[in-house]
Amino acid sequence: MSKNIYIEPNYTYGDHTLHYIQQAAEHGLYEIRGLGAKRRLPTFDDLTFLTASASRYPLEGYREKCETKTVLGTRFAKKPIELGIPITIAGMSFGALTAQAKDALGRAAGEMGTSTTTGDGGMTPEERRSSKTLVYQCLPSRYGFNPDDLRKADAIELVIGQGAKPGGGGMLLGQKISPRVAKMRTLPEGVDQRSACRHPDWTGSDDLAIKLSELREITDWQVPIYVKVGATRVKNDVKLAVAAGADVVVVDGMQGGTAATQQVFIEHAGIPTLAALRQAVEALEEIDMVGQVQLIISGGIRSGADVAKALAMGADAVSIGQAAMMALGCNARHYHMNGELVDATEDFAALGTAPGYCHHCHTGRCPVGIATQTPELEKRLDVDWGARRVKNYLQTLTMELTTLARACGKSNVHNLEREDLAALTIEAAAMAKIPLAGTDWIPGVSGY
């Protein structure tokens, strides 16, 4: 007689946790990986639009005009940034990405009238040429940072932190420190490179004000200066950035991506983008700077619906990094070479993963040729093909954004408002301070 076996699920030590413990026991190392938080978090998916009906008047589908123009940096800069759409490409370094990938992002952004951003490692000539509007990052490492490139920039972004690793520096493992990357960063080839977590020349918000003034003096107050923070103590950080003189504040939520950092950082530091955005908007409201200082939100923005909801909650623009990489072909089964699609499944398998699940940017062995510095792999990204795909993606996001805006009766996407939204979960209602659908209830704020 066979004995009944009952396999009882273990929610404390499930498959994921068991794998983690066994890996730690085997290797004695924490995991380093790319991309952003994978854990289940409240997101913009937990909000929905209350589009027009009897009480609101909609605009006609794709026919009636819906403005998407976005102006950033109106506070102090003589030349604010004028973008065609409120969707920008986030900072991603040459080193983490190939020069070809940066080139493709620049071309796509240029065609859509939006900006790209440099990254840790400096400005490449390719991305300057291909990017109509280029934001130059001033990072703690200052790799490749120089006054000539500073003056070529259309805006400057002083990076204090990023959502994937707020309070942490970066790392670029030796396999990606190619001769060109090493030269740009003034490092020996092949070393595991540590990007500093603190700026080398200032500490604290009083110093930050002087630092921003220095950058303005060097660029003769011509271009906007953004300050980017990883989302932790958002209210304080936004207020301090504004007090220090930022034209634009960029808040990068917990779902923001990276080329490489510790998994424990990615999954266990910072707050979700949804909560961060609401706190950032409140910070600007409390100091009466809405409209004077623009707000960009990033970290897990994937769709036109995400963009529309972010704008409705008070963002002036969004920034996308991982999604832009995915549009380029990150995590796709195929890459495009010589006019044909080539299956990369075996290369994903060699990394111990599969298309759709890869986060091995840190290894430099990107099967689709985006996050690598290996010449043979770099050839796997066809720049024209990649640029077209990113442009298509940005165009789709914009069409979805305007579709929702029109349905809410808005002739300008920047007229979307919190009142257009309802929350689908109690967590989202609390974090976004948007009433739970079908009620007037915002936990901690209002009654049912």
Binding site: H27, L29, R142, P147, L187, V191, P200, D207, I210
Partner: protein, 236 residues
């Protein structure tokens, strides 16, 4: 006021009468091609961001104390501060030189890529932090964590060095004449070679100092952190 006369050989800015913005605007836009070779800045009174982003072969004398970032991102210019300076003098310097006749606060020549920075007095903490190819000569002593994460270039200290010297060094090299009160992670003392003596002699001469070369000690990276290794157990 002769501050904006581009044909005068020595152009003078009195910051009790004019602004830092006017000074920098002149240095960026009106000075190049004007024939002016010498700019004098009077009454700086500790103001920040003096002569930042200059990209011209000009001598600039700042007569008094300067605040943060004086000479920041300098190219080609030769700047002398006749007083003390605040944080981050010559940050990200690319070329040219900066001489401070007095003492310097923290982060001298942070992330400097090239050129020479001379501090005739003492320099506070993190002198030469993240330097990327510039040379620094300090006539006195330096504070803690100097040359932190320094990637390339040379720091010469004619006095003493506080604890944490050369923490997480890459390829920059440090020479100290006096007492080293403690090395940082992955920094180590190494024997002086003939090349080292020549390097120190050259920098001392350019800085205008005269010391017995035999008194200098070399500090460089042990390179044990070049490849991340969990077996360090975070004890370096």
């Amino acid at each position: 006021m002769d501050t904006l006369n581009p044909t005068a050989e020595a152009v003078r800015f009195d910051l009790s009468e004019t602004t830092v913005r006017e000074l920098n605007q002149y240095l960026h836009h009106e000075l190049p091609g004007s024939g002016a070779k010498h700019v004098e800045v009077l009454n700086p009174n500790g103001r920040h961001n003096l002569a930042v982003g200059v990209d011209a072969p000009v001598s600039i004398d700042i007569r008094g104390h300067a605040g943060y970032f004086v000479g920041g991102m300098n190219k080609l210019a030769h700047i002398t501060v006749h007083g003390n300076v605040g944080w981050s003098v010559g940050e990200n310097i690319m070329s040219g030189s900066i001489r401070v006749k007095g003492n310097a606060s923290e982060c001298v020549a942070a992330s400097g890529h090239g050129g020479l920075v001379v501090i005739e007095g003492d320099a506070s903490s993190r002198c030469g932090i993240s330097m990327k190819g510039c040379d620094i000569v300090v006539g006195g002593s330096v504070g803690h964590m100097s040359a932190f994460m320094a990637q390339a270039g040379t720091l010469v200290v004619c006095g003493d060095a506080d604890p944490g010297l050369g923490d997480s060094l890459y390829e920059a090299v440090i020479y100290v004449r006096g007492t080293i009160h403690g090395l940082g992670a992955d920094a180590r003392e190494e024997p002086m070679s003939d090349d080292d003596y020549a390097r120190v002699a050259n920098l001392l001469e350019r800085a205008g100092f005269d010391h017995d070369l035999q008194e200098f000690k070399r500090v460089a990276s042990a390179r044990s952190l070049y490849h991340w290794n969990a077996d360090h157990h975070q004890e370096y």
